[in-house]
Symmetry: C2
Subunit: 555 residues, 2 copies
């Protein structure tokens, strides 16, 4: 194996939705020059990652090959594509490339982390290209739910690779460039070795609708509203923010932006010129002085995030503004699986205030940022790649998308994180399986998903926790009685005595009966005390708690 090859290795995003990180390489096996496309994060939840701040792909493989890494491209400014850039920068230490809007967001992140902002370089759209080792890379504008999303043209000695990035085939996306079939056709006319393609909406059977269609519907809704109107969407969906703001303006309302992300995204859009016209905005302070029927609030928190503006308005006052009977709240957004409870909780709080809530169930106030199945076929048919490799999806999405490709005569494979693929030939071939996984940002520290830290937290949450303290004298005899501190357990159980008292009584008996051999041996003693505590609690309250045993010896 000394001939050069083209490789593809997803480290995140293939087999999950979130934390995208795709490596491409070209060269002799093991000596490939590499580029990374996207470096995203995923978000924690109580079920599997309590207390964690962010989830990132485990980049160990790439870190160990940082000297082979030519550069990092960020396709667009969504957190699942850009969120890891500043966190991982010092480990990868490669130049970062992105279009102006995306670069603006990336630089804000670099600055927050104390990294040099100029490590992020702005690239112009295709046909401008950047040469990096064996690669010639260009970024092709493509429509998505954030400004300036880019598909990647990666030319290699083994042929052209097209990497769709997240995309939809919207001819009129309001902000950002439309999907242009002619461009993708032209790009593909000399043959495309592989198309790496977004799979998110492969199960959506109907063609996607355009952002342009929303304006009239939303305008009608706002015009009919009697009280204050509040609308929420992802702040990065600048097109939607504009659509909403203009609907407010047409209805004679003043627009208020609430939530830091909302302000940051509009600011970045104006700075980078992706947003030229935007209705006049008034501050929350000014808004409090205006009649509520003249206001249109655009707020963060469409996914029910507890600290975002939506949740705060649902709970009570936010920046002096308050919802009441007769107001209208619009979710111009889809609820991401896992966020349902949070969103429903907000809707119910709004209901208690007498606020009318309109959500996406009618399908007229939101369009997806991803290509539906027929739209994916549109791209397939324009590109006609030798291989179709589905990416950006859970296993079920990748599998369905791959089957679709095979049914249309393209070579294809289900490639998940850690599968190092050789794309040089006529079909994708697995060259190697790489250990991958997740890294958690926890407070200010990165921990491995397998470190056991989170497992211990989950156990404490499910089982509660008991601290058992025992002091032994120089002769290994108990000095006084053992005692317990409990957290997250019922105070009393079956016997109606305090749980602590019951545990301490049982522990004391155990110590009295324990032989010298046990008392002398830390491990034995701890294990005995732990087991007894769990049994005693099980008997008393029907739960086996986590136990920390602290043995102090007066030696």
């Amino acid at each position: 194996m000394s001939t050069e090859r083209l490789i593809y290795l997803p480290l995140g995003g293939a087999g999950e939705i979130g934390m995208n990180a795709y490596v491409y390489g070209y060269g002799k096996p093991g000596k490939e020059r590499l580029i990374l496309v996207d470096l995203g994060v995923a978000f924690p939840d109580m079920d599997s990652t309590p207390g964690v701040d962010l989830i990132m792909p485990d980049m160990t493989w790439l870190q160990e090959r940082a000297d082979q890494l030519e550069g990092i491209f960020i396709t667009h400014a969504h957190e699942d594509h850009i969120g890891g850039v500043a966190h991982m920068y010092s480990k990868l230490n490669a130049p970062i490339f992105a279009r102006a809007f995306t670069a603006n967001i990336a630089r804000r992140k670099m600055k927050e982390h104390g990294h040099p902002e100029d490590a992020v370089q702005i690239v112009s759209a295709w046909p401008e290209v950047i040469k990096l080792g064996p690669f010639t890379v260009g970024v092709v504008p493509i429509s998505h739910s954030v400004p300036e999303s880019g598909g990647m043209v990666i030319d290699t000695p083994a042929g052209r690779v097209l990497h769709s990035g997240d995309f939809k085939t919207d001819p009129t996306p309001i902000v950002g460039e439309p999907f242009d079939p002619a461009v993708w056709s032209e790009l593909s006319k000399d043959g495309v070795q592989a198309l790496l393609c977004d799979s998110t909406n492969v199960f959506s059977p109907n063609p996607g609708r355009s952002e342009l269609e929303l304006g009239p519907e939303i305008t009608k809704l706002v015009e009919d509203a009697k009280g204050m109107v509040v609308a929420t969407t992802f702040a990065s969906n600048v097109a939607r923010v504009k659509t909403l703001a203009e609907a407010g303006e047409r209805a004679g309302r003043s627009v208020v932006l609430l939530g830091r992300a909302m302000q940051r995204m509009v600011e970045a859009s104006i700075e980078t010129g992706v947003l030229t016209q935007f209705p006049k905005v008034v501050s929350p302070e000014e808004a409090t002085q205006m009649p509520r029927e003249n206001l249109m609030l655009l707020v963060t928190g469409s996914q029910g995030e507890r600290r975002a503006a939506s949740a705060q308005l649902a709970r009570g006052k936010y920046r002096g503004l308050q919802l009441k009977e007769g107001d209208l709240f619009l979710f111009s957004s889809k609820t991401i699986p896992g966020n349902e409870k949070g969103v429903i909780g907000i809707i119910n709080q709004l209901s208690e205030k007498g606020v009318d809530v309109v959500d996406d169930s009618s399908g007229v106030y939101h369009v997806s940022g991803h290509a539906n199945r027929p739209d994916l076929e549109t791209l397939h048919d324009l590109v006609k790649p030798k291989m179709l490799i589905p990416m950006h999806g859970e296993h079920r999405h990748l599998r369905e998308h791959s089957r679709l490709g095979l049914s249309k005569g393209m070579a294809s494979a289900v490639v998940v994180n850690g599968m190092l693929m050789d794309l040089t030939g006529d079909t994708p071939v697995v060259a190697e399986y790489i250990d991958t996984g997740r890294t958690y940002l926890d407070g200010s520290v990165k921990i491995g998903a397998m470190d056991g830290v989170v497992r211990d937290r989950i156990r404490m949450a499910l089982n509660g926790h008991v601290v058992v303290t025992v002091i032994l004298d120089e002769e290994d005899e108990p000095l006084g009685e053992p005692w317990c501190d409990v957290k997250g357990l019922a105070e009393t159980g079956r016997s109606k005595e305090g749980l602590v008292e019951v545990l301490e009584k049982d522990l004391n008996q155990f110590l009295k009966r324990a032989g010298k051999k046990t008392l002398r041996d830390d491990d034995k003693l701890e294990e005995g005390l732990r087991r007894l505590t769990r049994q005693s609690a099980q008997n008393e309250i029907g739960k086996k708690p986590e136990v920390t045993v602290v043995v102090s010896r007066m030696r």
Copy 2:
């Protein structure tokens, strides 16, 4: 206020979906004779109730009036209506009434808890009635997604109350009685004071479809399948289980029931005669000897429950049976909000095995057990009550349903848990607000939702936990150095030293500097050590952990 009145007090189920418990009363204020309709549970989640086994309504108000309680009626055998009966029986100590199938399930629960099974009395369907104090109560068969659901006719000196229970207006529900408009019309001909009405599907705009329509669709799906077919639904949806089993039989497959609930429900249905014909069932052991294309497995776990048959099959083998490439898995069910991640996780595991998954997204393999908006109107129009009181719903459902009633000329109010309503007059009037809430079954113990037990668990899960141990001698001087045990925290942080070492060093310095006044005072010392530990951890790993301080004094 000495005239007699008719009261209604929801203790659970009004303002939430789950743990239904509705009190009706008649008599002089404070002296009313009472009946309880339903006594259900809700299920915990990691977000708000980690480690909890079951959530029940706080029944304190009713327990304090147990001598006024004439009886408990259970409308049907879903856990959110029946699940609390055995847990609360000893506190309420009233006879329990239900139709035969529901009584069968209730008795199984009573037996498991060591309560007398004959506390549960079987009632026949309307027009048979039971006289209890001022009440004459009958149970009217109504269609739902479980056998023998019952609507309640509650006759009082203040007029007739109809309590719909959970229902749909299905003319052909396969198992159990159809919805019969003539019965509801006849029941209402002399006027109905109040209709208490299911609100679950008030936001579903189209009329519900019948269970009967599913059979042909499911049969076609199963007939076209090449490998093993597995279908999951709620086990209590005996009609669906029958529809699925018959589809399997028609396709020439042998039926296997997997999961305890599946077997228990079919058993109870046969015992009570609600299920007369059911395809022959083979055991899992027999099934392992048969060709997979001849098998149809009906399994529990449609909501992604980790221990149920679906999840176990998705992970690997279950009772000798195993899924593989080319098999078909059907979710003949809707995913309840909050369960999406679990269900999607199973679908992806199945995808990894090459199993084709069909879910309810097409709308042809599942029908809801609840009346949609037009179906609710059907009942309203048959009953024409003086008042419509929406129940069984979150606030948003109750509000929408109440508005619908008002728009149709009925008196109505949004009544949530704890609102004691006087229904004697022409409109519902709030008579009193009762403190209500939730009780958790935690292991074998009941704890209050506000006891702080669960709050402490959540904090440990989010923040991790540190135990600080300090021993002081007779002079209140530290004996040796303090030490730390940590759980659920990163091992190393900013300084690259072990977190424990860093904390111990800081704690030791604190003790050295601490004055006699601090060292002598347990509270001051503990507070100082706690604060220092949190600050030191914040500095080192960016998190402030929960801290348990154990101070031992050699006195």
